[in-house]
Amino acid sequence: MAIPDRHGRFGPYGGRYVPETLMPALLELEAAYQRTRKDKSFQAELKHYLTEYVGRPTPLYFAQRLTKRLGGAKIYLKREDLCHTGAHKINNAIGQALLARRMKKPRLIAETGAGQHGVATATVAAMFGLECEIYMGTEDMQRQALNVFRMRLLGSKVTGVDAGSRTLKDAISEAMRDWTTNVRTTHYVLGSVLGAHPYPMMIRDFQAVIGREARKQILSAEGRLPDCLIACVGGGSNAMGLFHAFVPDKKVRMVGVEAAGLGVESGKHAARFAGGRPGVLQGTMTYLLQDENGQVNLTHSVSAGLDYAAVGPEHSYHKKTNRAEYTSATDDEALAAFDLLAREEGIMPALESAHAIAEVVKCAPRMKKNQIIVVNLSGRGDKDVQQVARIKGVTL
């Protein structure tokens, strides 16, 4: 059976929980996407931009010093941090912008948390000459002032969202309201494997290039598949991107790492699988942090990109079928991993990706030296340097 089914269901998860005004747009988007995914000229165009503009394929780098330091499994880093704009987000932004162009929608909108997806969307809008507006919670705008300025330099309008927790969740709601109002001229470039069908499927497909490359690269480097894949999970697009090509390889473990914030027991976290239960938020049925009445809980993470109350529905499905395992890393563990990777390998990971490295630190030493881990280094840490300084009490 194809996953998702034609209703956008991944088992009991997914679906299309949106106001009627958006239903025709989602049906139109799905039809357009189904046409283009089989269209050779679209695929050739996408490949051209991924190669010549984004810089794909990204390297699969053997982290020799980190491997030695941890004393267990061999650790390979999938270097999505080397993509143009500094994270995997642009794989999806390019795909959706090409699709919007074919659907003759001259305006793009997007939400952003940390700013990475906003910068990626602003970048492709500039490159394709499309109008662009980015929604961002005012709390996140303060935390990520540099990215706000980057988006404006790229010619995008950045609109602050002052509702609710003033973070990613509220930015998505506001982008959905804009789309509801301007649906005839506007394409909503959702940034993760979230929202109503076809977004979780389409974004997974645009990110699946990560795993396709990594599978080829590890076979060429080691002559065999890895034992374990590790990726951080906010909405979960970088994880889904890495995992997807390996799903049929049942012997390859897949581990998603959520943000445990100040610790799951503290209540200040974004670990949906540890602390949530299925519910509907922003178009999809999935694991959700909510109270007994179904009101969505506030979340906390040092990383704005993981600071979200729901998770992509296909992750909920992989959890249900036990195809993937989900664990979490605290703010402190992520910050320690940030330091470790900088010192051992000369690579500063994004704080999101540092959660995946934190899991490597826990599991590599318990594995045999001939075993292999592939970890998705989904973004680079330049955007987080100021925040890390602040946390360490350093004035720049």
């Binding site: 209703h7 679906g15 299309r16 929980y17 949106v18 106001p19 009627e20 005004t21 958006l22 239903m23 025709p24 747009a25 049906l27 509702a163 609710g164 969740k169 509220d170 709601s173 959905m176 309201r177 509801t180 109002t181 301007n182 649906v183 005839r184 519910g279 509907v280 938020l281 922003q282 178009g283 959700l288 909510q290 007994e292 009445n293 179904g294 009101q295 969505v296």
Partner: protein, 266 residues
């Protein structure tokens, strides 16, 4: 017989249109909500729509978002709203429709919610983020309890969506008059007339029009074509302004009287 069907039948016999008024439950408190419901009825409202405050109301503009925040601050939950409806049923038989986002109902439990809502005296449900395509888990329990599931159509709806949604909708079909969120401005009356006529081809269920109906003039124009006129943000704004100054019931009542007067035929 469901109170919604009775009301639309009675009004049709008189050649009148239904005035459907929306307020947010628990804004500023559930006690105020109960007072407001009684005043809305005295002022001429034919059907009451009670909003259920949700943390993430994606179909609503700023006026109703803020009302939802006030409702949550006053500790309003679906359970407590049903208790209010139960109390109101000792005093009024006006049809009451709940407008709730799906997650609040899902958290309550679909079947449990439908039977408790009907027992409290609720007549219908509007779930703005649940198109009929996703209504599976609610359909049977709602039918068993005698609750109407009211679905929405929009200016963007295609012919096939119109046919599908119009047939699925019970009590009335909710036509969203604008491409947008609650509280935006109504500026395409010709489009409203055209779409209401197209919906009528698919169903005998009454058609009510909402989103963007803000003034007595808007209400009068919409009443010329639709069976019901839904006014939400314009009332909720007045609740927000007068929630704490002792004039709440009076201000809301006089505004609703002006809407009703504008809708009288001839």
């Amino acid at each position: 017989m469901n109170r919604l069907d009775q009301t639309f039948g009675r009004l049709k016999a008189k050649g009148e249109k239904a005035l459907i008024t929306y307020i947010m439950a628990g804004d500023p408190s559930l006690q105020d909500t109960e007072q407001l419901v009684l005043e809305l009825e005295r002022a001429g409202a034919d059907i009451i729509e009670l909003g259920v405050p949700f943390s993430d109301p994606i179909a609503d503009g700023p006026v109703i978002q803020q009302a939802a925040e006030r409702g949550l601050q006053s500790g309003t939950s679906l359970r407590r709203i049903l208790e209010s409806v139960t109390r109101l049923r000792d005093m009024t038989q006006i049809p009451i429709v709940l407008m709730a986002y799906y997650n609040n109902i899902h958290a309550f439990g679909e079947a449990d919610f439908c039977s408790k809502a009907a027992a409290a005296g609720v007549d219908g449900l509007i779930v703005p983020d649940m198109p009929p395509d996703e209504a599976g888990p609610l359909r049977e329990p709602a039918a068993a309890a005698g609750l109407h599931l009211i679905f929405l159509l929009a200016p963007t709806s295609t012919a096939s969506r119109r046919a599908y949604v119009a047939k699925e909708s019970g009590g009335f079909v909710y036509y969203v008059s604008i491409t947008g969120i609650t509280g935006a401005k109504l500026n395409d009356m010709a489009g409203v007339r055209d779409n209401v006529a197209k919906i009528r081809k698919h169903t005998k269920t009454p058609v009510a029009v909402g989103f963007g109906v803000a003034t007595p003039e808007d209400a009068a124009r919409v009443a010329e074509t639709a069976d019901g006129v839904i006014v939400g943000s314009a009332i909720v704004r007045r609740v927000g302004e007068h929630g704490q100054d002792g004039r709440l019931v009076h201000e809301v009542g006089s505004f609703v009287r002006s809407l009703k007067a504008a809708m009288q035929p001839g």
